[in-house]
């Protein structure tokens, strides 16, 4: 493939950027071809991503070819030559970046992900925007994340400025989310509820619920209040003190007055930037949490708690993210507010006893979460008291600042995102799990066989509630001298039951997916066979 007419003409040296650009782009095209030739999966996402990458790679080649023609002209100046070569270098970097996207395709191979992990989530997203294709992939990092890859393509398109690729890419739309989940939890379907938070980011991006521009006036008003402005002053003072302490060595060569002025200015501007960044991130993260609760139900809070247990680092939370306990508080606060009006439960009078049981189970667990929620404030002894004080003060300010915008966001979400409701079907699903039967709701009396009416959210909630009510085992010391025996016992006590339930839930989700496809008429059956 790389041995094309371009190389035969030998119009550029093999060390030139043009040569490198062609080699990289053709090599990428070869890889894309190989992956496209492999048997397709039933998901549309990977195929669409490969098509987009192919479009842009070809655009890069066309652009480099055009630039090379310019380079061959004798009349161009040295400066123009340099500029063209720099553009070609930028294209090389873009191709390198495109190459890294192949890992998303590799991760979607069916061997790595059960069907039940992908299709039902895809359907859930399509409920909100039917044109969105997704990729769900495991990653080695213990993290769940959302990433709209279209933005990267648009950046590359800006560099290559190729009309054909811009036109082709516009057909895909504005959203192509890559949702990643912790590979370690590949088999723990119950934890994958966290993906609802990542879908929350996608919905937020589409609807612009948390766009800070909408709330800037309100935020400025709160920052100007006496309560917050005093705290802000204290925050700036603390920032200056911290910076002075850590910058002591560089002080020696600078005059005292200039040094103090510089530090004060620098520390204040850094703190302001940090505050703005954190307001944006807090709004985005908490908005995604609220959307997740609405689309998937209370189990999202349980799963969030499980994953956040591990997110306590010595230096506090990473980046601008809100600390786990604040996120948890906001989620529980939202759940309580909606639940007060009994909106999460849609049940018949006859099921009141069961309903109360489930409600009690959820409340008890949420109370446990409140007591056990991880404290993410910095703990390391090497971090000064000043830093800890600054961290706590900043969080106090942020809590006050985001309150108003969050209330407005909640109202907007309520009007646009329908609420998932726990209804009577959940009892039947829990009953099935209790009997170690896959949780699929079917009414066998109907003829022809009724489709399953339960969706992924009902099944996942049933799995969680069953786990909490029947299977959650408390830690108990095992008296054993034999290490292997002890591990086996612990495995049976903690790990095996979770895997068992998780497998049953996954099978239930897959079966429901198939039931739905088969019950939606001939057209969907044909689509199913075509896949």
């Amino acid at each position: 493939m790389t041995d094309t007419w371009i190389f035969k003409e030998k119009q550029f040296s093999k060390t030139s950027p043009t040569h490198v650009a062609f080699c990289r782009a053709f090599s990428l095209l070869d890889k894309i071809k190989e992956l496209k030739a492999e048997k397709k999966t039933s998901e549309e996402g990977p195929e669409q991503l490969l098509n987009a990458m192919k479009t842009i790679s070809e655009g890069c080649i066309r652009k480099v070819d055009r630039l090379n023609t310019e380079l061959l002209k004798t009349e161009i100046s040295q400066l123009e030559r340099k500029n063209i070569e720099n553009t070609i270098r930028a294209i090389i970097l873009s191709v390198n970046k495109l190459h890294t996207f192949l890992r998303y395709i590799d991760a979607t191979r069916l061997r790595r992900n059960p069907t039940g992990m992908i299709k039902p989530w895809e359907l859930l997203i399509k409920k909100y925007n039917k044109d969105v294709n997704i990729i769900i992939r495991p990653q080695w990092k213990y993290n769940y994340s959302y990433y709209n890859i279209i933005k990267e393509f648009e950046n590359i398109n800006d560099i290559i400025g190729d009309n054909k690729s811009i036109e082709d890419l516009s057909k895909i739309g504005s959203y192509f989310p890559i949702l990643s989940f912790a590979g370690l939890e590949r088999d723990n379907v119950l934890l994958h509820i966290i993906l609802a938070h990542e879908i929350g980011h996608l919905i937020d991006e589409m609807e612009q619920f948390s766009l800070i521009d909408k709330y800037s006036d309100e935020i400025i008003r709160v920052l100007d209040t006496t309560e917050v402005s005093e705290k802000l002053k204290k925050l700036y003072d603390l920032s200056v003190n911290i910076m002075k302490t850590s910058e002591d060595k560089s002080k020696q060569s600078v005059p005292e007055v200039s040094y103090n002025l510089f530090i004060e200015h620098e520390a204040k501007s850094q703190a302001q930037k940090e505050l703005v960044d954190k307001i944006c991130t807090w709004l985005e993260e908490i908005t995604a949490d609220i959307i997740a609760i609405r689309i998937i139900g209370p189990s999202f809070i349980f799963a969030l708690f499980q994953t956040d247990l591990a997110h306590v680092s010595k230096k506090g939370p990473v980046g601008d993210y809100p600390p786990p306990q604040i996120r948890m508080d906001k989620c529980i606060e939202y759940w309580d507010a909606v639940d007060k009006n009994d909106k999460f439960f849609d049940y018949k009078e006859t099921e009141e006893i069961n309903h109360q049981k489930i409600k009690k189970c959820i409340s008890e667990y949420l109370n446990n979460i409140k007591q056990e929620e991880p404290d993410a404030s910095p703990k390391s002894s090497t971090i000064s008291e000043l830093k800890k004080e600054r961290y706590n003060l900043l969080n106090e300010i942020l809590k006050v600042v985001v309150k108003g915008p969050l209330d407005s966001i909640k109202d907007s979400i309520q009007g646009k995102i329908p609420l998932f409701k726990l209804d009577n079907r959940i009892f039947k699903l829990i009953e099935l799990l209790k009997n170690r039967i896959t949780p699929v709701y079917t009414n066998h009396d109907e003829e022809p066989p009724a489709s399953s009416e339960c969706d992924i959210a009902s099944i996942l909630n049933a799995g969680w509630i069953f786990w909490l009510t029947h299977e959650r085992r408390l830690a108990k010391e095992e008296d054993s001298t034999n290490e292997v025996e002890l591990l086996e016992k612990l495995r049976f006590k903690y790990y095996e039951p979770l895997v068992e339930i998780s497998n049953l839930v996954l099978k239930g989700i897959e079966s429901t997916d198939f039931n739905t496809q088969f019950s939606e008429g001939e057209e969907s059956q044909r689509a199913f066979h075509k896949n």
Binding site: H444, S452, N503, K507, N531
Partner: protein
Amino acid sequence: MQQIVNHQGVLSKQDILNYLSEEDPNKRITISPILDKRTQIGRCSVDLRLGNEFIVTKETQLAILDVADSKNLKENIMQYQEKIRIDYGSPFILHPREFVLGASFEYVSLPLDLMAYVVGRSSWGRLGLVIATATLIDPGFKGVITLELANIGKVPLKLYPCLRIAQLVFHKLSSNLTEGYDGQYSISTGPKFSEIYNDKEIPKIVRGKIDDIIKN
């Protein structure tokens, strides 16, 4: 809902439908999902479809599996097998004299008053496909059914997930049991490889201590 029969013998279509509609999950036959009741439920059997997970053996990794080698048996078995998953719509090609483990697409649960046999469908048998060698399913069994697939024909066979490949024949027991199957292969949602290393009798047998077995 019609009354469930009390006589022993093979269940007829109507009996099967009655068991499938039983409200109590412990007394019900669960086969989930049945994608098409009209074609899958026969006169005295229920067709099972092929799942998309397989366990293939890696002959190149191991010279022999010796049940007498109790120390390494578990490890050897793990080395010898590889789990693969194929997409719906993609074929799994089973070559002549090849042996793999597959699983039913359906999750099956039996009540305590029934047992079942897994048997092949004759259309596949005529092509040389053997689907199960250990065919008995205990009362109270829950899980997908592991199928021991072998091609004894002379040409490779393309197997697609969701093909109707086997059938279940149900028998009513002469009296009810109080406890059902709770063995090592229960509640599985994919094919399971042999766990023969859990058989406590084997080490005694290979050492020739038959007396110990009788004593215990």
